[in-house]
Symmetry: C2
């Protein structure tokens, strides 16, 4: 057992609490005591503000290689996609493991303790499966385990190059051909990640490394499902994926209405919006997360309100997608979560304030979302979306995922208890993250990843996939 | 003389140049040599990307104390202003020196080598002048000198509480009563800043510390003029300030059309836009900088196109001001520059990308501004606006203000020569700034300010003015 005394901790309310003692046994919080004036002997001391680990509900790890390389030109989402496909075409299981490991380690430095990897680069060049058809997904799971970050691998079904169009050359690597083949492949998923190799977690290794996909749900890894979009998955196939996710009680994600062109194509072909189509396919509900949900029609709010919505403001700004109707979605009951998406930036706190700041630009009104609600989206909102219902909160019984923001850097210097939550959302960033714990195990201390030289590995891994 | 070898340097073009040797004598660059493969013996070595020092053309230093404290509530610009006035009411020359010194030092850490301080808290409580009527402005000049940052003190005329309204209690501290009294006060300005106290600059101290305002133009300090806004300065007074600035050839700044309510009041009272009013007052022209310029009418573009426009995207988002018509202003010939304004964030690179990213949200199109143009706005654009025509570029004869962005942190890991300019604008931030030189003097090395414990001083200084 270990004890952690926090100068300030956010326990879910509007304000931070001073003097909080958190006890941890194995990978779980066993007690949370308020009003403890000073650190007891033997307790770790966390100055600054301690919050639950941040959750990144929507990532494409390989796109980290594109940072700084796709922002200059003219064009729109669709021209950006061509550049993104070129990078995807360079991946193989070995270089993807290295790139994803370094990217997830960058996330750890930014305080991200849970990532949802929306994974669709499944097969080799020209769509030929690897000998192990899950080699790419297993590389992603392994990468997260090595980086020390909790992951939900969102196994993404991607079949078509557009409504009624076959996959193009780049997209062949994404496609399983049919939804049934996708089910077959995903059902055979097993992974080294089902054995948590950390000596510190106190968790036993899984008994059988050849077990079926459920075994990939080790102490820090889960599997979920994803429908790439209504462009890439037809209604019958979307129904197959949805049924499989429902059968296993797994999270189900989909890109929804990111671009007006997607809505127009869906309406022209099917006579309904993407949300309505996904509703008919049985995708929607409390396990469902709509990614982006930028361009909605009136009837979509009720449909999406029963699940989660993942906003990715820095990517949505970069790709000129537009400003989503966040307050209306929240009002309809949708749970909010956040994603770094293209990983051009990796900073969930910037995503959190981006939600509010962009809505200010579209409405001319401040204070649409409260700071504590934005911080909730950045923590347990993402965990709920990713199937980690017992993470993202500082409370007895929850997984011991903790992040401390230091007030020792200039960004948060001058922060006081009364404004610490507001400061975390509106004035802090990845550089303020000082210490990070995942499942009781410290992975970042004093802004240094304890096992990975992150910048050096990023540089090498990016060099291997980008000319 | 000293030599500085840069792995990559941005010399103003679309791309960075590899292997650049910069020679410095006193406070100036004496030569710039390209294609130097490795660092000569005795030369300083700057790995990463070296750019001209960043310029912050619009700052209210004291508002740093409000960071994290004004973002949560509902309301708009005007409710925010009430909180800001409460902080202003706490200032005196001593605590303002400490707060501005720490804030300017935070700017130094962020690579800002030139700041334009839009200064309007001139007098004591109830508007009673200090014994030295320029005590507050001199504190600001001294603060910048101590922090090692080049400054243009924009002495701001602020007379009214709104069109036809007297200043309220908070605003009494800003008002000189009449424009003539403003001229008299500003003309008597002298400052310790006219003596650059650094032993490293090689510049002689000014001969006469009691000299008139021109003497405040020491090696790292200049004085300029500002008309707060058409709300706070009537047309005749605006003409008086404009004439004084013209007589002395000084920069002249004004807040212009930040809010629709300002436009409406100006139109109702004077039958013209704020830009047109300033044009009639003789304010506009190449020495003029319009701050914000968010809500313009068709005829304003031609009027503002002959000068500079300063965008402050992070503040404009925070205050729900809206998205300014940047591309149209640039097309009309306006020089662009950038400001941190409220200092809720201090990161000129984030301001630079904010210009483009916000325009993407309003237009649905990417690539409205080119990365090199945004970096120009962040460097020589601001210097030109602030009267430092010989700063903001890496070239022989220019002031030796240099900033090196390290690729040794995760943010820029993987950056290559071909994309370094794009990466600096779209993927870098204050935390990536490693080394900073102002006038040949190193003020930041390895991300540490060499003379000031910035976070500790910020914390103490903010505690002194905020309850």
């Amino acid at each position: 057992m270990s004890e952690h005394w926090c100068e300030l901790a956010w326990l879910g309310g509007e304000r931070a609490e001073p003097g909080v003692l958190i006890s941890v046994q194995g990978d779980r919080i066993t007690s949370v005591e308020r009003g403890v004036a000073s650190a007891p002997a033997g307790a770790g001391r966390h100055n600054g503000l301690t919050i639950p680990g941040l959750s990144n509900a929507h990532s494409h790890a390989f796109q980290r290689a594109l940072r700084g390389r796709t922002h200059a030109g003219r064009g729109d989402f669709w021209t950006w996609r061509d550049q993104m496909y070129a990078a995807a075409s360079m991946l193989d299981p070995d270089n993807y493991l290295a790139l994803a490991r370094a990217t997830f380690a960058e996330m750890a430095l930014a305080g991200i303790t849970t990532v949802g990897e929306f994974h669709y680069v499944h097969h080799g060049p020209a769509g030929v499966p690897y000998e192990d058809p899950n080699a790419m997904g297993e590389a992603v799971l392994e990468a997260a385990t090595q980086a020390g970050v909790r992951i939900t691998l969102l196994e993404t079904c991607y079949l078509h190059g557009g409504i009624g169009a076959p996959p193009d050359e780049a997209q062949q690597r994404f496609s399983d051909g049919t939804a049934e083949t996708w089910v077959e492949r995903v059902s055979s998923l097993s992974s080294p990640a089902n054995v948590n190799t950390s000596p510190n977690t106190g968790m036993p290794p899984a008994a059988d490394p050849t077990a079926k996909f459920a075994a990939a749900a080790g102490p820090t890894a889960k599997v979920g499902a994803a429908i790439h979009s209504v462009r890439a998955v037809d209604p019958a196939s979307a129904a197959t994926v949805s049924a499989w996710a429902a059968e296993h009680g797994l999270p189900l994600h989909a890109h929804v209405s990111e671009q007006p062109a997607e809505n127009a194509a869906c309406l022209a072909e099917y006579g309904m919006t993407p949300s309505a189509l996904l509703g008919q396919a049985g995708a929607l509900g409390e396990r469902f997360t709509a990614i982006h949900a930028t361009h909605l029609t009136e009837s979509d709010f009720g449909l999406l309100g029963g699940g989660s919505v993942c906003l990715c403001p820095t990517t949505e700004r970069d790709l000129a997608d537009g400003i989503g109707p966040v307050s209306r979605l929240a009002g309809a009951g949708a749970g909010l979560c956040l994603g770094t998406d293209s990983n051009a930036l990796i900073d969930i706190l910037e995503e959190a304030r981006g939600v509010e700041l962009d809505e200010r630009l579209s409405t001319g009104i401040r204070g649409n979302s409260r700071p504590a609600d934005l911080l909730r989206a950045a923590t347990d909102g993402g965990c709920a979306s990713l199937g980690w219902d017992d993470a993202g909160r500082i409370e007895a019984g929850a997984l011991a995922d903790l992040v401390t923001l230091g007030f020792d850097r200039v960004g948060l210097a001058g922060t006081t208890a009364g404004h610490a939550v507001e400061s975390a959302v509106f004035a802090a960033g990845a550089a303020d993250v000082r210490d990070v714990m995942v499942g009781g195990r410290v992975i970042v201390r004093d802004r240094v990843h304890l096992e990975i030289d992150v910048a050096a590995e990023l540089s090498a891994a990016i060099g291997a996939v980008i000319r």
